[in-house]
Amino acid sequence: MDTLLFSLLNGVIYGLLLFMVSAGLTLVFGMMGVLNFAHASFYMLGAYFAYTLQGVLGFGAAVVVAMLLAGGVGAVVERFFLRRVHHHGHAHELLLTFGLSFIVAESIKLLFGNFPVNYQVPAALDGSAFSLGGQQYPLYRLLMGGVALAMFALLYLLLTRTRVGIIVRSAIYRPRMVEALGHNVQFVFMGVFGVGAALAGLAGAIAGAFYTTSPNMALEIGVMVFVVVVVGGLGSLAGAMLASLLIGLLTSLAVGIDHSLADLLGLLGARAWAEGVGGLLTLKLSSLASTLPFALMLLVLLLRPQGLLGDKS
């Protein structure tokens, strides 16, 4: 029971983290129609910035500065790269961001080495929050969840309650009209792109300390984030939230299940046959944890191609 509770909590927090990265991605997509392949690179940049600055500034300040730096890099990418190729169409923009993500990953391999760096949770935060049935729950995990929740509250209030939010939302909906009303839509685009990158950077700076910070982290989370936005529905913030939590829970629960399809077939009396076939049928669900999100995605595409909360278009 305790284990189940722990994995539920872990799943929710991993889901929140995924949402932090995918929120920016889906926001940018809804606004500009650009799928930013380099989005997860900002996550990685955030982690590496924070790792580098940690010694100079201390953990808290390093995280904040890393977030700002990642946002700055995002704004530069929008202003000087994406805007230049905008007239070639979305496919071209996608390819450009793909190239940029490649460059970021390779530069990091070059500068920091192709192995995980020693970026760790500071000692002050490295305690346990509570214990249940003799098991300690790390405080830092709760902190990650808390930061993510605070971010959403802030983002939500910003988008729905402020003047800036009104302009951003209308720029998503009718960019030309907003421009005609005298707002600088290009600047709004750059701002949203930068904020999305900063969010990803913050997620990276915080999560990098807990999970591993390595040149592969962008690809690992990037693929997962793509699954999230496809499952949730492209451009839908609520869909991204739902899908993030779903995938977070799915992966963390699956890790704890040591059963295979053969066990299930065993209930029907076909265990011997299944074990004879082997392969996929005898693989334990726990070892399939990283595969399940992709299977979920294919299932969603089969049953509801526009995503859970996406518009049919």
Binding site: L100, G279, F294, M297
Partner: protein, 408 residues
Amino acid sequence: MRTSISLLSGGVALLAVLPFLLSAGLLNAAVQMLIAALFASAYGLLAGRAGMLSFGHAAYFGVGAFATVHGMNALGGTGLLPTPLMPLVGAGAGLAFGVVAGWFATQRSGTAFAMITLAIAELLHSLAPQLKGLFGGESGISTMRMPAWGLNFGSTTQVYYLTLVWVLISLLLLHFHTRTPAGRLTLGLRENSHRLRFLGYDVHRLSVSAFAISGLFSGLAGALQVLANEAANYVVFDPAVSASVVLNSYIGGVGVFLGPALGAALMSFFGYAVSDTTQAWLLYQGVLFVLVMMFMPQGLVGLGGLAVSRVRRLGAARALPLLLAWLLAALLLAAGAVFLVELLQRLCSQDYRTLAAQAQGWPPVNLLDATWDVTSVATWAWPLGLMALGGGLLAFAHKRLRTPEDAA
């Protein structure tokens, strides 16, 4: 038309005599170049002609490779087919998997399509290490080329000719496909799929067929790689394989039939040539890709066409020196940038950091058979000077090469 045909036959003749000109090591590299060229052409059919961006083409390559390995090991090691026909197994597997994956992926178009292909590839990539029976786990599966048709396939030369024949046949078939009604409709998918639908075509079926044909030739390329290496490992599903085919194809230029093939051959040649001297080759490849995407969307092949049109407009006497200056400028810029990157790489390497910690200072760095003092201004002035010179020359040549038609 006549020039392009004579160019092509010259190219084929050159490929045919290569084994007499090259050492065994270089011939191996040539085999890899041919395979990369075929893979990129298969990708080009999907990305260039059908306008569907796939970021997970390693899946079809890998499925073809593993099907071939199992085909070669089947029947107690004698193989399902004679060795020269073995690529058909890979092609069949690529086609079959392409139909299944394509059916899913082409449910959506554009961006979502790209992500689905990526996820399908990741699905295989994460599953492959778990299924040891099928994919051989860490060590992979090895096999042997069985003698057939009086050939023993023991020498690199024989493998080279086998690969060459298959690649040429495949390229001819791919080219033939562009001439068929189905190939024309593929182009229609890219240009205006709504119109195709109004004309009564089943767009989903057309997309799946384009996807499957691309999968077929990717699988064939995978099969050729297995024949060349006599082994397959699940690293063929690595995202880096998918990434490199995207980079290669677009660097070459997907708008022209042979563009992806030339890009892939060029890139894998450089990859082979510099892999011992630099660790940053992938970075250069990425930078080149981004430069191509930003400044010459037609790819490097398009650059040739641009040069020809300049010569026609300005006359050879005026255009040729300027084009040469442009080329020199590009080389200067590249030299400066590469020098800088290599210097930085050495400064950031683990070895150097240990050395620096021991010496409590900045020990000199070895690069290009010379020692460079890191603290001296000259070391840094060299690359920056090269780049400034190249940039200036580039701006000059670029301005002079512009004609009134460009401004209009």
